[in-house]
Subunit: 215 residues, 2 copies
DNA sequence: AGCCAATCTTGACACTGTCAAATTCCGATG
DNA sequence: CATCGGAATTTGACAGTGTCAAGATTGGCT
């Protein structure tokens, strides 16, 4: 009944709380601290390494304290994935707003950026596009919303590429968006998951992918 | 010292063991029973649903009995993945040996088969190509061997396609094999993991992928 | 000043994988 | 035929995990 499931609780009274020692009962902004600590844990040890108990230890709070801000572990992870998608969306739009480059050139850049991001933030990518979050009934509504948004961007971006003539005009934009994302995602996963073990020819793979997708 | 890590123990004396009641101390071929039961569990509930204790219960044996045949849970899963890759290899070679079809036609068929297999055996595909098995230091040597073999087949098959003129001849065969597999794997994962939620246009996606990969 | 509700903790439960040590039993050996 | 070694299996234990129900603590408002 009192579970707020991710909503910010009543702590939203603006009067700046007087400085509280780390050991006090009530914390400053526990929700944010939990998110930050979780992000750290993911970055260092991957999603698998996230444990609510270790998290609590790290933040200096009891095992179940997080349950007042997140319905369960899954919702916490979804929250972080959401954050990731927002940054993702930002960075992509930045690439395609760079008018100093030709459209086709931007698309090639996008492919390289995708791969670089996925490899440099492997654990975070794994969170955002991993099964744990998306498996039936797991994904939060807000996560689904932002992810859908990001995918719509990909569709727009594809349609534009077709109009600009560097993506095959004959294909349906939706399918083309699906398949091109599939290609990038597939390569990223094969590398991240350790199925492809040769990390020294990423650029060549990107080029090959670009050659296939563009024309 | 006495851990045999997946090798078949001394049970290899040929004299047909006299029929043993299911409840007896020594079982008939526990190793195989464990493998079979694990396969069942994967098919119904996915890799995540595999628990050594439930497995033991199911086979009618104590929690730790499996440890005499598999060093740990990971090795058991690798064994099953290996089995999967062998069947995988079989089915693919069967497709490409069908002389009643044109090479290009066979390749299109292969793409459709890939997708169909991945979706109809989602949990098994997830095992074979999932992170749990492949993550650093997890994959068994024999698993790596068969998987490498399967990938080499893909390279050969790609090179042949280039010679036969339905795959772009300009690209390096290895890269092309990597990227084409990436495309299929990516689409499969996006569907299996629940990121793509529309399962009613698989064929269109396959066609689009084929159009991009072939020429 | 005192209460209420938001916040956090304690206790408990049912799981998990895995190790070490004890048990059971088969089959070859004396 | 009895025995004994070692393989096959079990029991006990430990350190984890997520999560629920209840209790303890606290700050802000009336």
């Amino acid at each position: 009944m009192s579970r707020l499931a991710g909503k910010i609780p009543v702590m939203s009274q603006k009067p700046a709380r007087k400085e509280v020692a780390d050991k006090s009962y009530h914390h400053d902004d526990l929700r944010q601290k939990l998110i930050d600590a979780t992000r750290d844990m993911i970055r260092s040890g991957g999603v698998e390494a996230v444990s609510l108990r270790k998290l609590a230890d790290r933040v200096g709070v009891s095992r179940t304290a997080a349950y007042h801000y997140f319905r369960d572990k899954n919702v916490l992870l979804c929250t972080l994935a959401e954050e990731g998608f927002r940054q993702w969306q930002d960075q992509i739009s930045r690439i395609f707003q760079d008018d100093s480059r030709l459209p086709a050139e931007r698309y090639r850049l996008y492919i390289r950026w995708y791969m670089t991001y996925a490899l440099e933030n492997a654990e975070y990518y794994d969170l955002m596009f991993g099964r744990s979050i998306w498996k039936q009934k797991c994904a939060t509504e807000s996560l689904k919303a932002i992810a859908y948004d990001v995918f719509q961007d990909q569709v727009k971006l594809t349609r534009q590429g077709q109009k600009q003539g560097f993506l095959p005009a004959g294909e349906d934009s939706l399918r083309l968006a699906q398949v091109s994302w599939g290609t990038l995602h597939g390569l990223a996963r094969l590398l991240i998951d350790g199925i492809y073990t040769d990390n020294s020819h990423i650029d060549e793979m990107c080029d090959c992918a670009a050659n296939l997708l563009m024309r």
